[in-house]
Amino acid sequence: MIYNIPYLAVVALVLIGLYALLFKRNLIKMVIGVTLIESGVNLFLITLGYRENSIAPIYTGSPGGIMSLPVPQALTLTSIVIGVAVLALMLSLVIHIYRHYGTLDVRKIRRLKE
């Protein structure tokens, strides 16, 4: 199905992020994994709103014609800001973990067990 290639791109992004989360041992790489999943989901939202041959949903000097859907764009905007907030907090925690343990390797910092 050639028309679903954008969705497959979404799946690829999410899976790459999940791979980084599950199989990488470096905290920064795990954070990158989360942001990759997030961009995958954002891409998914924005693809949902696309209509063929559509223009941006803005009337200022618009050439006319069908417009792409505005709601997914608004949702994506919200989702991006949420992603920034989560990323900021995750990186601050990584800085703290690095200061405390002197390493970013997940295997060496696991003090909480059982």
Binding site: Y59, T60, G61
Partner: protein, 159 residues
């Protein structure tokens, strides 16, 4: 490192700073007419500030503005945003009512339906909300970047 980068970078950054700033403010102000808005423009201005931070170093920047003041500005932005929502409850009828639209006060005009020219005096509370969110995002994002950059110079404390 703490003293910032070379003189060339500092000069170029100071020269580029006002232009990026004006562009960001333009994006905030015209959020209801052209692509953009409070978040996007705020991010642009915050990136201009982050450029200054990188060029001049975090210790120098921390001497100019503290994260406490930024946090205060951010609170102000958030409060004005939620107050606009509350004013909808007061003037109009419900929370988040666009109470300024379709009256002859500030931003009260309604554009003709369909493709039109940009008329700045439209949108009701939308431009005001854009300004509030813009202030919030500028202060918020810059506070995050500043605090994280400054953290490199501090050591872990024991209690």
């Amino acid at each position: 490192m703490s003293e910032g980068m070379s003189k060339i970078v500092k000069t170029i950054a100071s020269a580029a700073f006002p232009f990026i700033m004006i562009y960001g403010l333009y994006v905030i102000a015209h959020g209801h007419l052209t692509p953009g808005g409070g978040f996007q423009g705020g991010a642009i201005v915050a990136s201009a500030l982050a450029m200054i931070l990188v060029a001049f170093g975090s210790i120098w920047t921390m001497g100019k503005i503290k994260e406490k003041q930024l946090s205060l500005f951010e609170s102000l932005g958030a409060i004005s945003f939620i107050l606009l929502a509350f004013l909808g409850l007061g003037f109009g009828t419900v929370f988040f009512k666009n109470f300024l639209v379709d009256n002859n006060f500030l931003f009260g005009m309604v554009p003709e339906t369909g493709s039109t020219f940009a008329n700045f005096n439209t949108g009701g509370v939308l431009p005001l909300m854009n300004f509030a969110v813009g202030l919030k995002v500028i202060a918020g994002l810059f506070a995050i970047v500043l605090v994280m950059a400054y953290a490199i110079h501090t050591k872990e404390e024991k209690l």
